[in-house]
Symmetry: C2
Subunit: 212 residues, 2 copies
């Protein structure tokens, strides 16, 4: 039968990926994982690792990619919830925080590799966040009609604030997280309100960079 071997190979590849994810925690970053640790957790001989990945860096990039996928599912979920009524800002923040709580290790990975030691990792995470931001910018622009460039700047700021809130949440209790959500919502509302005001000012003054 054809595809039997390929299927089994895919299976152990998954086991390796899952083992790596499982070992991530507040105390363990991907960079601190050794090849042997991952294979041990996966129940596979160290040397077999090379049948699936060229090295740990390759495995890491796979993890980042999968995390990006999870992130996109999150976006889809948030969009659905917004469409079925409710404040866009509140819904987005709450959905994101839910995601962080349910995927702490996935989020930690993205968070850490964003400023990690591998340029490829940093680029991969930046790409995922940019995708996230672009989607939000489109949404904002479709609602406000202030122009793509402007919406993009606003969306970028919002995404950064939400991501940062997620990062802070990781070290917090449930009660503290609730407060954090409210704070973040206020920050996004400021940006929202400010977008309208600043846009007008921006148009009146033209694109000058005159001081003050």
């Amino acid at each position: 039968m054809s595809g039997d071997r390929a299927r089994k190979k895919e299976q152990t590849r998954r086991v390796l990926i899952d083992a790596a994810f499982r070992q991530l925690s507040a105390e363990r970053s991907f960079a601190s994982l050794s090849l042997r640790e991952v294979t041990r957790e996966a129940g596979i001989a160290p040397t077999s690792f090379y049948r699936h990945f060229q090295n740990m860096e390759a495995l890491g990039l796979t993890l980042v990619d999968e995390s990006g996928l999870t992130l996109r599912q999150l976006m889809r979920q948030a969009r659905q919830r917004i469409e079925s009524g409710g404040s866009a800002i509140r819904t987005s923040v709450e959905t994101f925080m839910e995601f962080v709580s349910e995927n702490e290790n996935v989020f930690r990975l993205l968070l850490r590799e964003r400023s990690g030691t591998s340029r490829d990792f940093r680029a991969a995470v930046a790409r995922e966040i940019a995708f996230f931001s672009l989607e939000l910018a489109d949404y904002i622009d479709s609602v406000t009609q202030r122009g793509h460039e402007f919406s993009r700047i606003q969306a970028d700021a919002m995404v950064i604030l939400v991501f940062n809130a997620g990062a802070e949440a990781l070290d917090m209790s449930t009660a503290q997280r609730k407060k954090l959500v409210e704070k973040t919502i206020r920050q996004l509302r400021m940006l929202d309100a400010g977008g309208a005001v600043y846009m007008k000012r921006f148009q009146n003054l033209g694109n000058s960079n005159s001081g003050e």
Copy 2:
């Protein structure tokens, strides 16, 4: 003569600290430094390390503390520049970016350990950033008189955006960094403008969290 030995000890302690800072780079995080590497760079026997620090974690905390000090000097500088005229926002962003460019490794350390694997490190960095944010909040409040809590929320958002811009700048060319500065300034202006608007709305509606 008394204090000779103590002085020399302090000296080699400095050599260790400097060696560690020197080894930080885009490719090397503090977590990836080994005790032996640091002592090698410092020109000191591995075992002598223990005469100065209990372990690498202790050295790391010292680095974070020193980085915090540098950050406070930066704040002082920004304050002075603002007082001697010019836009507060522009001056702050430009001064911060200058700091990042001149202290890339210091900034990288703070950036990485903010989401690192040591709770103590994370707490130490959070403390430094909170200090930074608190100062800005005081300044905002003294100018706008909108109340400490409100100013704090706004200041927090601003600090996050500026820090994040600093992080992005690390992987950028000089030209790209210039554009980033302008973008960040716009984001802060949005927050500034939005603060005024949102504050009014906030007061009129009361502290309700009614949807939409």
